[in-house]
């Protein structure tokens, strides 16, 4: 695949970029550029995210993508990657704006994601010439492009001092709609999002809410994935499910909280895992799966 270049004034140079000051003269890209006729949403957040953040990023990305919204993010570890993954899983197009040359896959562990973004008709973009290595000061810079390319910016998880808040700052300057996924008050990974909401960002409560913001009317919205029904679970499994949340829990904690015998908990957990109500975020730690 050839690396292509688009310069200010070229017909394919994203029109939205020319609206804002400080945008690059040249953009290097692999694959495609975002379709200007379609709506775009940026989903960004913490690299070290929680299981909750992972599920939300994937869920929002998938539901938006199902309605034809292009997902733009930075292909960093954590929320960014999960946003791309969520979009790909729904068959959508997703675009990654990198802080290094487009010929370099950084972080390297995302090589499979990098490949699939291109294979699915999305694109890898960068203002840095091919061969440029990632440098810490590149990442805040590329955030202004992520925000500029999008119609709205969704922050899923961010600590109090987070790079995602820089994206939000650009979005503010560029007059974009900013949304944050609310979290819990004492969760450090939600501190950034909650403070954004306090400062007036929208609280992202559901994908359909964002779709409305993007101008989709209620009847245009695709059916969001229905939450799996708990009706055919055994009573034990349902009881255990009650004690599971997005906070990873060890077996010990589940046993203590539910006061069920150890043997029952094994049965219930396996049933929940096989029916995809829970998964192990790392071996031995159970989190509830949402959506």
């Amino acid at each position: 695949m050839d690396i292509r270049i688009t310069t200010v004034g070229d017909p394919d140079y994203p029109r939205v970029l020319s609206l804002y000051p400080g945008m690059p003269e040249k953009l290097y890209y692999l694959g495609n550029l975002p379709d200007p006729e379609k709506r775009s949403a940026a989903i960004v957040g913490a690299r070290a995210c929680s299981a909750y953040g992972r599920d939300q990023a994937r869920g929002f990305a998938a539901d938006l993508a199902r309605n034809g919204v292009q997902i733009i993010s930075g292909m960093a570890l954590g929320i960014d990657s999960h946003a791309h993954e969520g979009c790909l899983s729904a068959g959508g197009k997703t675009f990654a704006v990198l802080g290094n040359g487009v010929d370099i896959c950084y972080p390297r562990t995302n090589r499979s994601l990098y490949r699939r973004i291109l294979e699915s008709g999305g694109g890898i973009l960068s203002e840095f010439p091919p061969g440029t290595e990632a440098a810490p000061y590149h990442f805040p810079l590329r955030n202004r492009i992520i925000s500029a390319l999008s119609d709205l910016v969704l922050i899923v998880e961010a600590r109090a001092k987070s790079g995602s808040l820089i994206t939000a700052q650009y979005a503010l300057e560029q007059g974009k709609d900013i949304f944050a996924v609310p979290g819990r008050l004492n969760d450090p990974l939600s501190a950034g999002c909650l403070s954004l909401i306090r400062k007036g960002a929208g609280a992202a409560l559901s994908p359909s809410q964002l779709l409305q913001e993007l101008g989709f009317s209620a009847d245009e919205k695709g059916e969001p994935a229905a939450p799996p029904s708990t009706s055919d679970l055994t009573p034990t499994a349902r009881k255990i499910l009650h004690y599971l949340s997005s906070d990873p829990k060890t077996l010990e904690e589940i046993v203590t909280a539910s006061r069920l015998p150890l043997g029952e908990v094994f049965k219930g957990l396996l049933e929940l895992e096989l029916k995809s109500f829970t998964r192990q975020s790392v071996p031995g730690l159970y989190v509830r799966t949402y959506g």
């Binding site: 570890l77 562990t109 077996l251 396996l270 790392v282």
Partner: protein, 503 residues
Amino acid sequence: MFCSITSTAISGVDALPVYVEADVSEGLPMFNIIGAVSTRTREAADRVKTALRNLKIVLPPKRITINLSPGDVRKEGTRYDLPIAAAVLAALDRIPKESLEGTLVLGELHLDGRIEQVPGILPSILTARDLGLKTALVPAANYAEAKAAQALDVVGLASLQDLIDYCSDGRRPENLPAGDAPLSEEEDAEDFSDIRGQESVKRACLIAAAGFHNLLLSGPPGSGKSMAARRLPGILPALTKEERLEVSRIYSVAGLLTAAHPVIQKRPFRAPHHLLSPQALVGGGRSPVPGEITLSHRGVLFLDELPEMPGRNLEFLRQPLEDRFIQISRIGRSVIFPCNFLLVAAMNPCPCGYYPDLNRCTCTERDIRNYTARISQPILDRIDLRTEVPALDYDALHAGGQDKITSAMLKTQVEKAFACQKERYLDMPIAFNSELSARDIPRFCPLSAEAGRLLEAAYTAMALSARGYHRILRIARTIADLDGDDLIRESHISEAVHFRQHS
């Protein structure tokens, strides 16, 4: 003027007979030791000469030749001081030669004639018995250990003068530590009831002990991983008499038996530091001595901070974990040490140790992945069980006191499972469920219809590997044994799926 005394050399955990021959003849005065002796052993000449002189025994100006036979066995250490002194005294007719016939002699000398203890007494006594010897002269400090073998008439000697007294008129030193302490199980000071809560951890320990499955404990610092591991030997069935002797032999060769504990009664628990050298771990040295894996034979080897252990060390564990013995080869010889141990490994969930507590954990996703990836796959393949050890909350800590699950209760269950396995593997070269090979699993792990369906569902839904599948069956076999069930049932599978080591 020739005399020959029987002694031993140590090779692995066995003793080989060595004959110490002394000849006194006319010629230039000299004192020569020959017969594949190491430098350290050759130093015996000066110690023996000085010790004799300090007893007012002056060697005549003659040519004294000491030969340690057979010549193809390398002689190491200081164990030949006493037999050399005895052989010289007999050759000089200072003591009657007949007094040392059929007698094993071992010991190191001080310059003033005091006798110092030497390692490897227990296997030496057993070898002497096989050679048909009747008496053993050993250092007083080794008296208890020599007696514990219950094989020979043992004489403990505190000094060279004691040797002369014994040989001249049969006088024996008195007031030596008895060493015939009853071979009873000592009370375990550490009990599982010291650990409050942590029911799942105790359950994992029980399964590990019952099927001799290697176990990985993961949890934040201070959650009680070491505490649990330390209590594992206490729930394994008591060592049989043969096993005690087998383990004591190892400790004897390593020089770790004391007069107070002349026989190993309890299952060993070894917890070496993770930065120990490979030689200290698996055994080694020019004259190979047992390493930690052999010292934990029939007991528990606890490796804390497994990801911090240099990868090279871990690689050395591969073969011993597979074969349950280790062969150490040196030029011209090789020794085999047994090492049938239960491996308990512990790790923090992430480099800082606090994941998933995001208020305290400062690690990135990649840090966590890299940390776990430090443990090599072949080692993980040998670990069947894994469990999380969560940090204790305040209530559990504050309650103090004893938990209702005691080591004695767990031990009874383990003994039951051991009995099941003993019967099942009567005509097999294996002893425990953890040793079941893929080929034997269908024969020994019959599944109930529901259990079969559940396992199939789990296999598909969790994308298990063949290795994961066999691992679940091995653990389920042990859980069924704990229940006294021949058939593996649904509940056994669901528990095994949880405790399996994911890799």
